[in-house]
C-alpha cells in the first residue's frame, strides 16, 4: 500500500491558544436547563394559534370549501381560505444576482389560488384562541376538489427525465475523453444501477413561527438557517420594506437544510396574524412538516467503471436522475464527487431531472454527495473485488494529483493520509477480504470502507466587533446556530485574534437586525464568518494601536502592529512593554471601539455581493476546494434474519484546521449518524397512486435511535487548507458522505450480498 505518514506536523497558524481546543459550548447552560427559547416559545399577550388544513389530492381545483363547522368551534377566530384571504404577492423570480430569491420553498401563492399542486398543499388556515381548538377546527374544514391527472411516481417517470441545464452554481454534465468507449474496452468493468428513496430532515423541532404585526412592522420568531432570506422573502410577499421586518432566530431545533427555504407555514402564520390582528404562533404538526416542507429527492443512478488489470481506472461514468416539483425545487449535484475523487482516464458525468406534481424537493445535509457517494463508492468496492484488490489499495492507485475532470489544482487534499490514519485506528489490516469469512459468535461480521467528500464554500459575512473599556468584546453577525457550535467557535477565534480571554467574548447571532451573516448551508458558515471576523479583529487592533500612538504616554508609541503580539487583553511588544485595550481606551476617554467588515447599506450589500461572486468565480477557476475523508465501519448481520447493526465506526477526515475539537467532532458524528439512518432505515413512503406521503411521522419514518449507534471514533489530520481562513474547511456535511457506501460494502463483506437500493433493510438480505 502506498500510504504516507499519517499525521503530518501542523503548519504554523493551525492552532492558537484557544483555536483547536475542545471548549464547552457557550449555550450549554441554556440548552440543558430549558431556558433556551425556540421559535414557538415567545410569549405575547393575546397570542393566537394557527393550524393548517392540507389538500388530499395531488393536483386539481378546489370546487368547494366548507368552513362553518370549523368556525363554530369555540375559540376559533378565523378560517382563512382562498375565498377570503388577502392578496399576497407571488414569489419573486429566482436570480443568482439576488441570492435571497433562492429562498422560495414553492412558487404557489398559498390561499391566493384555488389550484392544488401537490398532495398536502395547505388549503386553509384556522386561527383560534388555543392550540387544541385550532387543531381540532382544522379537522372540520371540508374541501371538495375537481381532480386533474397528476404525475407523481418517480420510478414511472424516470424514462422521461430531461438533462439538467448548467448554471453559475452547478453544471449538469461534464466529461473528459470518451468514457463509454473506454468502458467498452476495459478488461475489467462494472456497470451498475443504484437507487435511493426520498428522505426527510426530521429535525426534532417541527417548523414553527410566531408572527407579530405592529402596524406595518413585523416581528417573526422563526427557526431558520437564513434570517435574511426569511426577511427578504416576507418583504416581497407582503409588499413591505425589508427594513420593516425583524426575524429572530437564536435557537434552531435542528434544520439539516430543511429550514433554509421559506415554506408555507411561515408565510401563512404571518398572513394569519395580519388577518386577525393578533400575534399568531403556528407550530406545524409532524405530519404538517412532511406535507409542506420538502425532503431530499429520490434518485436513480448509474455508475460504470472500467479498469486495466493494473487496477488503474480507465473509465468512470456516473449519471443520475432526480426529481423536482413542478412548483419548485432544484437539481442535486449527485455526480459532484465523481468529478474529483478518481484519476480515471476518461470521465462522463450527467444529471437529469424529472418534474412531478409533488412538493418541491429541497436541500438536505450534503445534497448530492450524500447519495452520490453511496453509488460511486459502492461501485468502486465492487470493482476492487473484481480486480482482487484491497479497496483502499485500489483507491490509492487511483488517487489523483490534480482535479480529474479539469486538471485544476487541489487547494488541499490529504485523502491518502486520511485513509492511513483511519485504517490504523480501525484495524483494517485484521480484515480478511473473503465475504462471509469473519464471524463473532453467531453474527456475521463485515468491514467496509468508503471515501467521504464535500466541496467547501464561503459566503459573504458582515461582522462588527466592539471592544469595550471593561475589556469585553462583542461580536455581532447574523449567522445561525442549529447545533454546530458557531458562537463558541467564533468566540474562540476572536479571543485568539485579539488576545483576550474566551470568557470576555460575547457573540450575537440569529437576528436580522445584526450585520448580515451567511446562511447556514454548504458547510460554509464557520469559514465565512471567520474570514470577516479575522479581518475585523485585525482592523480593530490597528485602530487600537492608532489610538494608543496618539498618546505620548503610551508604550506603544511608534510601534507597528506586526511587531506586536495580542495577548493578555492588549497589545505587547515581545518581551517588552505594551498596554491593555482597557488602558488605551481609558486614556483616550473612549467607552469602546468598534469596527465593521462589510456593509448592509444598499450599495454596501451590492458591493458585497459583487465581491463575493468575483471571489467565488476566481476561486473556482483556480482550484478545487473540498473536505474529504475515509469512513470505516464494522457491521454485524444476523445470519437468520438479515438484521444489520453497525458495531464500530472510524471516520478520518481532512477538514483543515479544527476550530473546536468538541463541536467539530459532534458535527462529523452527527453526519455519520444520519448516514447510518440513510443506509439502513430511512425512507419516505410516497404512494405512487396519489403522491401522498404515507409515513409522515417519527414512528414510521425510522431515524436512528440510541441503540442503533455505536461509539463513533472521529479523527482528523489537522492540516490547514492554505486557501481558507485559519485553514479551516467546513465539517457540517462531509460526515454523512460515504457512510451509506461504507455500510453497503461492509454488508457485502459480511454476507456476500450487494444491496444497491437504499435502505438496506433485512428483507433485501434474506
Amino acid at each position: 500500500m502506498t500510504l504516507t505518514q499519517a499525521q503530518s506536523p501542523p503548519r504554523p497558524g493551525a492552532s492558537g491558544r484557544l483555536v483547536g481546543k475542545p471548549i464547552d459550548r457557550v449555550d450549554g447552560g441554556a440548552k440543558t436547563s430549558g431556558a433556551a427559547r425556540y421559535a414557538a416559545e415567545y410569549p405575547y399577550p393575546g397570542l393566537a394559534y394557527a393550524a393548517l388544513v392540507h389538500s388530499t389530492v395531488a393536483r386539481g381545483r378546489i370546487t368547494g370549501i366548507e368552513t362553518a363547522g370549523a368556525a363554530a368551534v369555540p375559540g376559533v377566530l378565523a378560517v382563512i381560505t382562498h375565498e377570503n384571504a388577502p392578496a399576497m404577492k407571488p414569489a419573486p423570480p429566482m436570480s443568482v444576482l439576488n441570492l435571497s430569491s433562492l429562498a422560495t420553498g414553492t412558487r404557489v401563492n398559498y390561499l391566493n389560488t384555488d389550484e392544488v399542486h401537490w398532495n398536502g398543499q395547505p388549503v386553509a388556515v384556522v386561527v383560534a384562541e388555543t392550540q387544541d381548538a385550532a387543531l381540532h377546527a382544522a379537522t372540520l374544514v371540508r374541501v371538495t376538489y375537481e381532480e386533474f391527472a397528476a404525475t407523481v411516481g418517480f420510478t414511472a417517470e424516470e424514462p422521461n427525465a430531461k438533462p439538467q441545464k448548467s448554471d453559475m452554481l452547478q453544471s449538469g454534465s461534464a466529461s473528459k475523453g470518451d468514457a463509454e468507449a473506454a468502458l467498452a474496452a476495459a478488461p475489467v468493468s462494472v456497470d451498475l444501477r443504484f437507487t435511493t428513496p426520498q428522505h426527510n430532515h426530521n429535525a426534532i423541532e417541527p417548523h414553527a413561527t410566531t408572527a407579530v404585526w405592529d402596524g406595518d412592522r413585523l416581528t417573526v420568531h422563526e427557526g431558520t438557517q437564513n434570517v435574511a432570506w426569511v426577511r427578504d422573502h416576507l418583504a416581497a410577499r407582503f409588499g413591505i420594506p425589508a427594513g420593516s421586518i425583524r426575524v429572530i432566530s437564536p435557537y434552531v431545533g435542528g434544520a439539516f437544510g430543511g429550514k433554509t427555504m421559506v415554506w408555507a407555514g411561515t408565510i401563512l402564520t404571518v398572513l394569519a396574524a395580519r388577518v386577525t390582528g393578533r400575534p399568531v404562533r403556528m407550530m406545524l404538526t409532524r405530519e404538517g412538516v412532511y406535507r409542506t416542507v420538502g425532503g431530499r429527492t429520490p434518485s436513480a443512478q448509474r455508475v460504470a467503471l472500467g479498469a486495466g488489470a493494473d487496477g488503474r481506472l480507465t473509465s468512470l461514468i456516473h449519471t443520475s436522475v432526480t426529481q423536482v416539483g413542478r412548483v419548485g425545487g432544484g437539481p442535486e449535484q449527485v455526480t459532484s464527487q465523481s468529478r474529483h475523487l478518481y484519476d480515471a482516464g476518461a470521465i462522463l458525468v450527467r444529471q437529469s431531472l424529472v418534474e412531478l406534481d409533488t412538493l418541491s424537493n429541497t436541500i438536505m445535509r450534503a445534497p448530492g454527495e450524500s447519495i452520490g457517494t453511496f453509488a460511486l463508492e459502492a461501485a468502486v468496492d465492487e470493482l476492487a473485488y473484481k480486480l482482487d484488490l484491497d479497496p483502499i489499495e485500489f483507491r490509492m492507485r487511483n488517487e489523483p494529483e490534480r482535479n480529474p475532470i479539469d486538471g485544476k489544482r487541489f487547494a488541499h487534499r490529504m485523502l491518502r493520509e486520511a485513509y492511513a490514519l483511519g485504517a490504523e485506528r480501525f484495524g483494517w489490516s485484521a480484515r480478511t477480504p473473503e465475504p462471509g469469512s469473519m464471524r463473532d459468535g453467531r453474527w456475521l461480521v463485515g468491514m467496509g470502507v468508503a471515501s467521504a467528500y464535500h466541496p467547501s464554500w464561503q459566503l459573504p459575512a458582515n461582522v462588527t466587533v466592539r471592544l469595550s473599556a471593561d475589556g469585553t468584546v462583542l461580536v455581532r453577525c447574523g449567522f445561525h446556530e442549529m447545533g454546530m457550535g458557531g458562537a463558541t467557535a467564533q468566540a474562540q477565534i476572536a479571543a485568539d485574534a485579539l488576545g483576550v480571554p474566551f470568557e470576555a467574548v460575547r457573540v450575537e447571532y440569529g437576528d436580522s437586525v445584526l450585520p448580515t451573516g451567511p446562511g447556514a448551508g454548504g458547510s460554509g458558515q464557520t469559514a465565512s464568518v471567520a474570514a470577516s471576523l479575522l479581518t475585523a479583529c485585525e482592523k480593530l487592533k490597528r485602530s487600537m494601536l492608532a489610538l494608543a500612538r496618539r498618546s505620548s504616554g503610551s508604550p506603544l508609541r511608534g510601534r507597528r502592529l506586526n511587531g506586536l503580539r495580542a495577548r493578555d487583553g492588549g497589545l505587547w511588544t515581545e518581551p517588552g512593554p505594551g498596554e491593555t485595550y482597557a488602558a488605551i481606551l481609558a486614556r483616550a476617554g473612549r467607552p469602546h471601539l468598534e469596527v465593521a467588515v462589510g456593509s448592509d447599506t444598499r450599495v454596501g450589500a451590492m458591493v458585497g455581493q459583487a465581491r463575493f461572486m468575483a471571489k467565488f468565480l476566481r476561486d473556482r477557476r483556480r482550484w478545487m476546494k473540498a473536505a474529504c475523508g475515509a469512513q470505516f465501519c464494522e457491521v454485524r448481520v444476523d445470519p437468520d434474519t438479515g438484521e444489520v447493526r453497525v458495531s464500530r465506526w472510524v471516520g478520518a477526515f481532512d477538514v483543515g484546521t479544527v476550530i473546536n475539537a468538541k463541536t467539530a467532532a459532534a458535527q462529523l458524528r452527527g453526519g455519520i449518524v444520519m448516514g447510518i439512518g440513510m443506509a439502513l432505515s430511512e425512507e419516505t413512503l410516497v404512494d405512487p397512486r396519489n403522491g401522498r406521503i404515507m409515513n409522515p411521522g417519527l414512528g414510521e419514518y425510522h431515524v436512528p435511535v440510541h441503540a442503533d449507534i455505536p461509539p463513533i471514533d472521529v479523527c482528523y489530520l489537522g492540516d490547514p487548507d492554505p486557501t481558507m481562513p485559519l485553514g479551516l474547511i467546513g465539517v457540517g456535511e462531509v460526515g454523512i458522505t460515504g457512510v451509506a457506501a461504507a455500510i453497503a460494502n461492509a454488508v457485502h463483506h459480511a454476507t456476500g450480498r450487494r444491496v444497491r437500493d437504499l435502505p438496506i433493510t433485512l428483507d433485501k438480505l434474506l
Binding site: 381540532h136 437468520d640 439502513l680 413512503l685 397512486r689
Partner: protein, 331 residues
C-alpha cells in the same frame, strides 16, 4: 381532537355504569394509543372515562401457582416484576421490546390488549380503510403493505396487531377477565382478538360496555424456559416485522413441551398450534424446528411487499427455538 366530557371513575362499578349509560364513551388508561388516535380524529368518544385510579393495579400469585395481573398494571411494572422475570421471562422480554421506556411506564396491560393497528392507511384519514370506515375499501392491498399480515388476512383488511405483550400472552395460555354491568366473563387470550373477515372494524371479542379487569397467567412450568425474539427495522423503538414467543421443554433430546406464538403476522397474536403439534415428541433438533415452522406457515400468503415475512417468520421460529435449546431461558 374533538371536545369530550371527562369523568373519573373511583371504582369499577361506577366505571361500568358510566360506560353502560353512554355507548359512545371510551375508557382511558395510560392513553398512549387512545390519545394518539383521538388526535388523529380516528377515535371520537363523546365521553372519556378515566379508569387510572381504579384498584386494578396488583400483581398477585394465584392459588394454583399462576399469576393474576390487574388490567391497570403498567407495562414496565409487569416486565420488571420478579414473578414474571423468573417464571415467565418470555413475557418480560416481549414487553421490554415494545415501544419505549416512557411509553411502557404509561401503558397499561388492558390498554396493550386493545391497541389498534399501525397500518399507514388506517392512520391516514384521507385513505380508504375498512377498519376505520367500513365499506370504504383497503388502500393497503395495493399500497405500502410491507408490515402487513401473512396469515388470516382477508380481502377487506390485511392489517396486523402491533402488540408484543399479547404474543407472549398467547403462548402462555393467558385468560382475559372482562367485566360489565351484566357480569364477569373470561376470554382466552387467543380468542380475544379477531381475524378481520368481512368486519375488520370489529377487532376483539369484548363488547363496547365491557372493561378488561385482569389477565391471568396459568401456572406454567414450561414458561420458565422461554424467550421472545423480535425482528424489526431498527435496534429499538420500532414495531415488529415478525416476532416469536417460545417456551420449550426438552427431555432426553425430545420435545416434551412447546408453546409458540407469532407477532407481526396477523390481525391477532398467532398461536402456532400446528408447529406445536409437529414438535411435540419430535427430536429437539433444528431439523424438527424447520419442519414445524414450514408447516405453520404453509398457509401463509404474501402481498406485493410483505412476502419476505413468510421466510422471515420461518427463520425466526427456528432461531428462537434453537436459542432456547442452546442458551436456555432468558431468565
Amino acid at each position: 381532537m374533538k371536545d369530550f366530557a371527562y369523568v373519573r371513575a373511583g371504582d369499577v362499578t361506577t366505571a361500568l355504569r358510566a360506560i353502560a349509560a353512554e355507548p359512545g364513551a371510551a375508557f382511558i388508561g395510560g392513553g398512549t394509543n387512545l390519545v394518539d388516535l383521538m388526535r388523529q380524529d380516528i377515535e371520537r368518544p363523546g365521553t372519556v372515562i378515566d379508569i387510572t385510579t381504579l384498584p386494578l393495579d396488583e400483581i398477585e400469585e394465584t392459588a394454583d401457582g399462576g399469576v393474576r395481573v390487574g388490567a391497570l398494571v403498567r407495562n414496565s411494572h409487569l416486565a420488571a416484576h420478579p414473578l414474571i422475570r423468573t417464571r415467565y421471562p418470555v413475557l418480560s422480554q416481549a414487553i421490554l421490546t415494545g415501544a419505549s421506556a416512557q411509553l411502557r411506564n404509561m401503558a397499561t396491560v388492558g390498554g396493550n390488549l386493545l391497541q389498534r393497528t399501525r397500518c399507514l392507511y388506517f392512520y391516514d384519514g384521507a385513505a380508504a380503510c375498512n377498519k376505520r370506515r367500513p365499506g370504504s375499501g383497503c388502500d393497503a392491498l395495493e399500497g405500502f403493505n410491507r408490515n402487513h399480515a401473512i396469515l388470516g388476512a382477508s380481502d377487506a383488511c390485511v392489517a396486523t396487531h402491533p402488540s408484543d405483550m399479547c404474543v407472549a400472552l398467547a403462548a402462555l395460555d393467558a385468560t382475559v377477565e372482562v367485566e360489565s354491568v351484566r357480569g364477569t366473563r373470561r376470554i382466552p387470550l387467543v380468542d380475544f382478538h379477531r381475524l378481520p373477515g368481512d368486519t375488520p372494524d370489529v377487532e376483539t371479542a369484548i363488547a363496547a360496555d365491557e372493561l378488561v379487569t385482569a389477565v391471568e397467567l396459568p401456572a406454567s412450568p414450561i414458561a420458565v424456559n422461554s424467550r421472545y425474539r423480535k425482528v424489526r427495522d431498527r435496534a429499538s423503538y420500532a414495531f415488529a416485522l415478525v416476532s416469536v414467543a417460545a417456551a420449550l421443554e426438552v427431555r432426553d433430546g425430545t420435545v416434551a413441551g412447546v408453546r409458540l406464538a407469532l407477532g407481526g403476522v396477523a390481525a391477532k397474536p398467532w398461536r402456532a398450534r400446528e408447529a406445536e403439534r409437529i414438535l411435540l415428541d419430535a427430536p429437539a433438533t433444528e431439523e424438527s424446528f424447520r419442519r414445524a415452522a414450514a408447516a405453520e406457515l404453509a398457509s401463509a400468503t404474501g402481498l406485493s411487499q410483505n412476502a419476505f415475512k413468510i421466510e422471515l417468520a420461518r427463520r425466526a421460529i427456528v432461531a428462537t427455538l434453537s436459542r432456547l435449546l442452546t442458551d436456555g431461558s432468558a431468565a
